[in-house]
């Protein structure tokens, strides 16, 4: 999807590919996803420490546990805890973390239980509910691909469909 991606105040940008995760402090600039189809982008940011990270996961969990060990960021169940750990290791404090999500789009008429986008979205809600984590903002579902970005200096989180940008945080 064609869209110019902004750079942070330090002019830097990290792109998080499919099934990948990145965490950094404000000097790293902006973290963005490549296009999110049914995958989910998840950002976690501490506005005091000015550290944050982004996960771009593909699926809920693997069929076999070893696959999650080899590629933890491809899956929600291994990638989400890894993202929180990575941000906390950089100095983020759990009680201050701003959490946003985008993605989880669906191909049309996917009615036979594949529904990867819907399942990717609902596992996130279940995980957060179980662990007492607040999801501050989200832009999920539908049939459009999105780009997600997190400005590590300001904490601004956006979700963009084509050229139309929605600011998820601050609201």
């Amino acid at each position: 999807m064609s869209s110019s991606t902004p750079k942070g105040q330090f002019g830097k940008r990290i792109v998080v590919g499919v099934g990948d995760m990145q965490a950094a402090s404000k000097e790293a600039g902006i973290i963005t996803t490549s296009a999110l189809g049914s995958c989910m982008g998840l950002t976690v940011y501490d506005p005091v420490a000015k550290v944050g990270g982004m996960l771009h996961y593909m699926l809920v969990q693997p069929q076999e546990r070893e696959k999650a060990r080899a590629n933890p960021h491809m899956y929600a169940l291994s990638g989400v805890p890894a993202l929180f750990r990575a941000v906390q290791e950089l100095g983020g404090v759990r009680g201050r973390l701003i959490v946003c999500a985008a993605g989880g789009a669906e191909i049309m008429d996917d009615e036979d239980g594949h529904s990867i986008g819907k399942r990717n979205h609902s596992i996130l809600r279940r995980l957060f509910w179980k662990n007492g984590i607040v999801l501050h903002a989200e832009d999920c579902g539908g049939h459009a691909a999105r780009l997600m970005s997190l400005d590590l200096a300001t904490g601004k989180v956006t979700s963009t469909i084509q050229e139309e940008e929605t600011q998820l945080w601050p609201r």
Binding site: M1, S2, S3, G17, V18, G19, S34, A35, L36, G37, S38, C39, M58, L59, P62, Q63, K67, N71, M74, A105, E106, I107, M108, D109, D110, E111, D112, G113, H114, I116, G117, G142, H143, A144, A145, I161, Q162
Partner: protein, 284 residues
Amino acid sequence: MAQIDQILNRLDRLPAIPVAVTQLISNLCSSSDDPDKESTAHIVMRDSALTASVLKAANSATAGFSVPAVCVQEALQRVGENHLLKIALAHASQQALGGEIAEYGLGSGEAWLGALVGALAAEEISKYTRKGDPNVAFTAGLLRDIGKLAMGLVVDPAKIGTLLSESIEDITSRERAEWGFDHAQVGAALGRVWGLPDELLNGIRFHHTPPSDDMAEDLYDIVHCADNMALTLGYGVGIDGLKYSINLESRENLSLNRAAFEDILVSVRLRMNNFLDDTQGQAA
């Protein structure tokens, strides 16, 4: 289809395909003992960029040799003709598919990435299900969306973006309702101009709407499911988004249950970076 052929025939210029691509396709999709076949090494050596790409792939860390390959024949021996053909085809197809397709909201390189993911997905599905020919599946997956290159020439390009963004139903149905044909049919017509074999033309034509009648072939189901996978992963997705209908029968025909679909999705993602690195030294 005759209507699209007539429109294409009237046009002064059409998207072109490098000669090397059609020759590589012919080698990849035909039997190895075809006497008329030109050697893959000769096809590659005629194109300096292609030669460089092939040597780079053969000398990459994954190839595992300490002494670098210095000629195409040596590269062929190292990585095998089948793999080398796919690398060369992916590299050469960049010339046709690597540009921007503004009407579909695809920036430079995005359509090509989507093509590559579709190619790898089709090959993986074919291998996993033991249906179809993995090489033909790879090629059909790669070329499935060439119709998007020509849509802006056969209909008013300004109307494409509006139709795609405003549609709340399956894009191919909207295209057919608006213009009488969809981009998959245009792709098949363009492929005919390029001289592609009928099997590939049908793979392109049916990649969104595989037939269930006596026209049905495993290849069409494979390319349809591969297209689903590329959309799911977000590669090659433009203004049209994921507004395409799934043909559930294709998954049934291929016995592609949820676990299998997800396994293949992961395999494709894991192969993607290595393949891109071999092709042009860029990561997804």
